[in-house]
Assembly symmetry: none
DNA sequence: TATGAATGAGTCTTCATTCAT
DNA sequence: CATGAATGAAGACTCATTCAT
C-alpha cells in the first residue's frame, strides 16, 4: 500500500504500471494480484494510505489545546512538504484531478472523499473557535461560517500546491502558507 | 485543436486516445497525424488553445478602464464556468497536475507556462492598482507586492476549481468566487 | 525514376517510403502517383534505371576491341564504385536479395532479370575470347564454358560487393577486384 | 530465437511482422515481448542463432585433421544448403544486405560481425595450411596471405548464394561450389 | 502464498493509396 | 497535370490480468 501511494503520487494513476508498484514494493507482479484484484483496488489502497496519514496528522494536531493553533500547525505541516509538493503536487489533490474526470463512475469521487474528511476536521476546528462574524444570507456568521472557512483553508492549500507544482517552485508554498497563517490569525 | 482541447480537458491526457480526438473532430485517425506528428503535439496544441482563449479573455478585460474591475470581471468569468469546473476542473490546472509528474522532461512544464501567463497579466493589473501596502522583508508593499497578490489570486482560482471538481459541487465556485471579489475590494 | 533508384538503393525497398522518393525527386507525393500507380511500379522503375545504366556501361565497353579488355574494364568500373558499394552494396544485388524473398510473386525475380542481362553480356565476351579449355562432363570447355565463366565473374562481383558492404570496407573491392583481373588474365 | 531466425531469413527483416514470428513459435504475440523488448532484439537474437550455428559447424569441422579438408568440407556444407540458398539466400548475407543500409546505427553492422567470425575461422585454416605463395607488396605471400584467401573464399560463398537466389537456381551452388573446391585444391 | 511466465485487447504511429480541387 | 489533404489498414509495443507451478 505504501509503495502504491508513493508511486501513484509520483507518476499519476494512468502513467503508473502495476510493474512500477511491484518493483517499488520489491515483490513480483503476480504477487500484487494476490492482495489486490485490480489496479483500481491499488488506487483505492493508496487513497486509504492518504486517509490514514491524514488521520494520524489531525490526531496529533488534536492534542494542541487551541483550535486556531491546530489549524496553524496544519498549515505549517503543509509548508514543510513544499519540496514534494513542488515536484509532484498534493497527493490527494492530484489524484482527485485525475480520477475526477472518469466517466465510468469508478473511483471518480474517492479522492474527493479524502478531501472532504480534511474539510470536516477543519470545520470542526473553526466551529470550536466560535467566531463572531455577522450573520447574513449565507447562514450563521455570513460567509464566515465554519464550513466556508474550512473550504477556504483547504482550497488555499490545494491552490498553493497546484501553483507550486505547476511552477516547480517550493517557495510558493512558503509565501502562500504565510498568508494562510496571517489569515487564520486575523479571524475573530 | 479545439477537439483536442475539449477532449483532453474532459478525459485527461492519458485516458484520451487519438481515436477519441479524431472522433470529436470528425476526421479519420490517420488524418490527425497529418497535422500532428505525435500525441504530445496534440497536447501542446490543446495548451495553445487554452493560451489563445486566455489571451482573448484578458484582451476583452483590458478594455475595462479600472484594473480592479478587470480582476473582478476575471473572477466573474471563472464563476460562470462553475459547472464545467465542477465536472472537469480547470483545463490548464488539471493539465498541469497531470503533465507535471512526467519525469522525461516532455511537456512537463508547458501547462505551467500557460498559468504563468495568467499570473503575469494579473500582476500587471495589481501593479496598475498602485496599492499602498507597507514595505517589509518581502520587498515593496510587503506580501502585498503585485506578484504575490497575483499568486494569491490565481492560486485561489486553482484551489476553488480543484475543490469544486473534487466535491463535484459548482457552488464552491460561487462561494469562493465571492470571497475573492471581497478580497479584491478590500485591497487598498 | 532516378530518385527512386537512388533512394531505394540507399534505404532498401521496405524502408523507403513514397514520401522519401517524392522528397528526393522534389515533387509532391500525390504527383508521384500520377506517373506510378503503385510502389511496386516505382521499384520496377528503379530496376529499369539500373538496366539502362548497365546497357549504357556495356555499350561503352563494347567499343573496346578486345573482349578480355572489356571484361577487365568492367571490373575496373566496379572497383571505382567501391565507396558506394561499401556503404550501400550493389544496387541490383541488394535489390535481388530483398525482392527475392517475396512469396507473392510480385517483382521477386525482377532484379534477377537485370543480373541475368549482365550475365548474358559477360558470357558473350567469354565466347568471343574463344577459350580452349578441355571439354568435359560440364559441356564444351568443361567448367570453363562461357556461361560458367560469366557466372563466376558476376558472382565474384556480387560476393565482393556484399563483403565490402557487410564489413563497411571499400578496400575489399580493391583487393577482390585485383584478383578478378588476375583471373581474367590467366584464362587462355 | 529459432522461429525468429527462420522467419527473418525467409521473409527479410522489414517484411516480417512480430505476429509472423509469434505464429511460427506458436506463442501469443504479447509473450514474445516478455523475452524480447523490441523487434530489433529479435533480429539480434536471430543473428545469435546464426552465430551459434556457425560455431557448431566450424566446431565439427575442426575435428578434421587437415585444414584444407576442413575448408573443403565447409564448401560441401554450403552446397548442401543449395535449395534453401536458391529460395532465400544466405541467412547472414541477406541480413547483412538489409541491415547494412540502416542509417541510424542500429544493428547495421551486426550481421557483418557474424560474417567476420567466419572470415576469422577461415583465415586460421589458411594460416595452418602454411602456403608458400610469393611475397609481394600485399605482404607475406602476396595476395595469397591467409586473410585475403579467407576473404576470397567467403566472398565466393556470398556471391554464389546471391546468384543462386537471384536466379532461383540451386545449380549455381553446385557449379560454383565445385569451382571453390578446385581452387582450394590448387593452392600450394 | 509466491513466482514468473502467458495472454490478448488496446494504443500510438506509419504509410500506401486515393481524391478533390 | 499538380497539389496537398484524406483515408484506413496494418504493425510495433504496452500492460492489466490470469494462470500453472
Amino acid at each position: 500500500m505504501a509503495a502504491a501511494a508513493k508511486v501513484l503520487h509520483e507518476q499519476g494513476v494512468e502513467r503508473t504500471t502495476l510493474a512500477d508498484i511491484a518493483r517499488e514494493a520489491d515483490v513480483p507482479v503476480g504477487n500484487v494480484y494476490y492482495y489486490f484484484k485490480t489496479k483500481d483496488e491499488l488506487v483505492q489502497a493508496a487513497l486509504s494510505e492518504h486517509t490514514a496519514y491524514l488521520d494520524e496528522l489531525t490526531g496529533r494536531l488534536d492534542r494542541l489545546p487551541d483550535p486556531r493553533d491546530r489549524l496553524k500547525a496544519l498549515v505549517e505541516a503543509w509548508v514543510e512538504q513544499r519540496d514534494v509538493a513542488a515536484r509532484y503536487g498534493c497527493p490527494t489533490g492530484t489524484l482527485a484531478a485525475e480520477l475526477g474526470k472518469r466517466a465510468d463512475g469508478t473511483l471518480d469521487t474517492e479522492a474527493g472523499a479524502v478531501i472532504r474528511r480534511l474539510l470536516d476536521w477543519a470545520a470542526r476546528q473553526f466551529r470550536e473557535m466560535a467566531l463572531s462574524g455577522p450573520d447574513g444570507p449565507d447562514g450563521p456568521n455570513g460567509p464566515d461560517n465554519p464550513d466556508d472557512l474550512a473550504l477556504t483553508l483547504v482550497a488555499g492549500y490545494q491552490g498553493m500546491s497546484l501553483m507550486a507544482h505547476a511552477l516547480r517552485d517550493p517557495d510558493v508554498m512558503t509565501r502562500e502558507g504565510a498568508r494562510l497563517r496571517r489569515w487564520l490569525d486575523s479571524l475573530q
